[in-house]
């Protein structure tokens, strides 16, 4: 399962986000996550993939960009 698919599954199952709105180009707002929810969501993702997202790199406009960031951080971790 790709990182994107894994994150999409978490959103659907752990956040009850409607699967119809889970798309790579969906913004966090379109996914129904406000700013505080995004902070919590990032924490959940960090735990799931055993990574740490540095504050200065925690910037993404869409779900696809978030997945790409996680991909990169996993690769950097080796």
């Amino acid at each position: 399962m790709s990182v994107y698919d894994h994150i999409a599954k978490i959103l659907a199952e752990e956040y009850e986000v409607d699967e119809a709105v889970i798309r790579p180009d969906a913004s966090m707002a379109e996914l129904g996550l406000d700013s505080l929810m995004v902070v919590e969501f990032l924490f959940c993702i960090e735990d799931e993939f055993e990574i740490e997202v540095p504050e200065e790199r925690a910037e993404f406009a869409t779900l696809g960009e978030a997945a790409a960031l996680v991909d990169t951080l996993i690769a950097e971790k080796g």
């Binding site: 956040y15 009850e16 505080l36 919590e40 924490f43 960090e46």
Partner: protein, 399 residues
């Protein structure tokens, strides 16, 4: 409401009236160093009223408060009525707030030896979380206050809401309390205080025994109860069918001891409530006692009843419904106020379950074991006496 006896208020009253105990012996904590505790847990599932995404930003106490409010608004026909709710206030009692969230955070810090705590820990643990989420979820834009007064929290919240309405500051308040502290860290702390009941030979269910010779302490419960309080005019305007009327509130402090109860302080709260209501003590037919089941607390409350109502408190029935729903701490006063309201509405006095031998010996009618019909019941009190010496009494009247 969310209570150890369920969420439907009339069914909850029926169960309490029938003396059905919700107290169970539970295993809490880890296999390694967990323990057994007598608890009155609420069978609570926040879905579908709260989505999983929203639930991640709410403590258990906040989730319970949101669900209790949802049901209260639905029952009154106010759910989704944004016009009516826009000036509505929220007055809630809460003792500890998100203690389970704090426990999880400390586990990460002390056990995993990590500072990487959940970034939303702070807004989840605050005691005002239940009131905040109620306001946000239902669009209640009046003042939202949280009263953290230990075991008296929600009686104070309801009393202060009553005064704010009576004094013309506000027309409608969602008032009550929420408490969910039955996580193992909190339970272990309570057990160390030496006030928790031990299992009774007749079974765990019979272990909460207010006023009884065999009482050994209190049983903790959890839940949330939210009342819709309205001015008489506003209630009449929308054709509301009130369960009962709140007519008085008295509060006092013992200024005495952190945990030891004080008859003088409690008496002042009860008398202040009666004076506030303009009600003569002889008109009171029922008192829902604080009655937690501790050795000292119950004896002092009986002394207070005798002081206020005269030796043997003639004509007054005094019962502790904590015998079946346990002590909900910050939500206790709200649940007991609701039960008292239904007692007036129904003309039925709930019993002190399990009571066989009142101790100290007393002539006060403690409604032992079996509830009774009381069609003439017109005025009732609900007492809440807290650690820290904070006392609150509410006076309710049949409508």
């Amino acid at each position: 409401m969310v209570s150890p006896h369920g969420s439907e208020p009339r069914a909850v009253f029926d169960a309490v009236f029938a003396g059905e105990s919700a107290v169970r012996l539970c295993r809490t904590g880890t296999d390694e160093f967990g323990g057994d505790a007598l608890l009155a847990l609420s069978d609570f599932d926040p879905s579908p009223r709260i989505s999983k995404a929203q639930a991640r930003l709410q403590s258990r106490a906040a989730q319970m408060a949101v669900c209790a409010t949802h049901d209260a608004l639905e029952a009154t026909g106010l759910l989704g009525d944004t016009q009516s709710l826009q000036d509505t206030g929220v007055y809630m009692g809460c003792g500890l707030g998100g203690s389970e969230v704090l426990q999880d955070a400390y586990r990460v810090y002390f056990v995993r030896k990590s500072r990487r705590l959940n970034p939303v820990t702070v807004p989840l643990i605050m005691a005002s979380g239940p009131a905040s989420h109620m306001s946000m979820r239902f669009g209640a834009r009046g003042p939202s206050h949280t009263f953290s007064v230990a075991c008296a929290s929600s009686s104070v919240a309801i009393g202060e809401a009553f005064r704010a309405i009576r004094d013309g500051y506000i027309d409608r308040v969602l008032a009550g309390g929420s408490e969910a502290m039955l996580n193992d860290g909190s339970v272990a702390a309570w057990q160390r205080l030496g006030v928790m009941a031990s299992p009774h030979p007749n079974g765990a269910q019979a272990s909460s025994r207010p006023f009884d010779k065999d009482r050994t302490g209190l049983v903790l419960g959890e839940g949330s109860v939210v009342l819709v309080l309205e001015s008489e005019e506003v209630a009449a305007e929308r054709g509301a069918d009130p369960i009962a009327e709140i007519v008085g509130y008295g509060a006092s402090s013992d200024a005495h001891n952190l945990t030891e109860p004080d008859a003088d302080g409690q008496e002042r709260a009860v008398r202040a409530a009666l004076a506030d209501a303009g009600v003569d003590a002889r008109d009171v037919g029922y008192v829902n006692a604080h009655g937690t089941g501790t050795l000292a607390g119950d004896a002092v409350e009986l002394d207070v009843m005798a002081r206020v109502f005269g030796p043997g408190a003639p004509g007054v029935a005094v019962s502790s419904t904590k015998s079946v729903h346990g002590h909900l701490v910050g939500a206790a006063g709200a649940l007991e106020c609701a039960l008292t309201a239904f007692a007036l509405k129904r003309g039925q006095i709930p019993p002190t379950a399990h009571l066989k031998t009142p101790t100290p010996d007393t002539d006060i009618d403690l409604v032992p074991r079996v509830g009774r019909a009381a069609p003439e019941l017109k005025v009732a009190l609900s007492n809440s006496f807290a650690f820290g010496g904070s006392n609150a009494t509410l006076v309710l009247k049949r409508t």
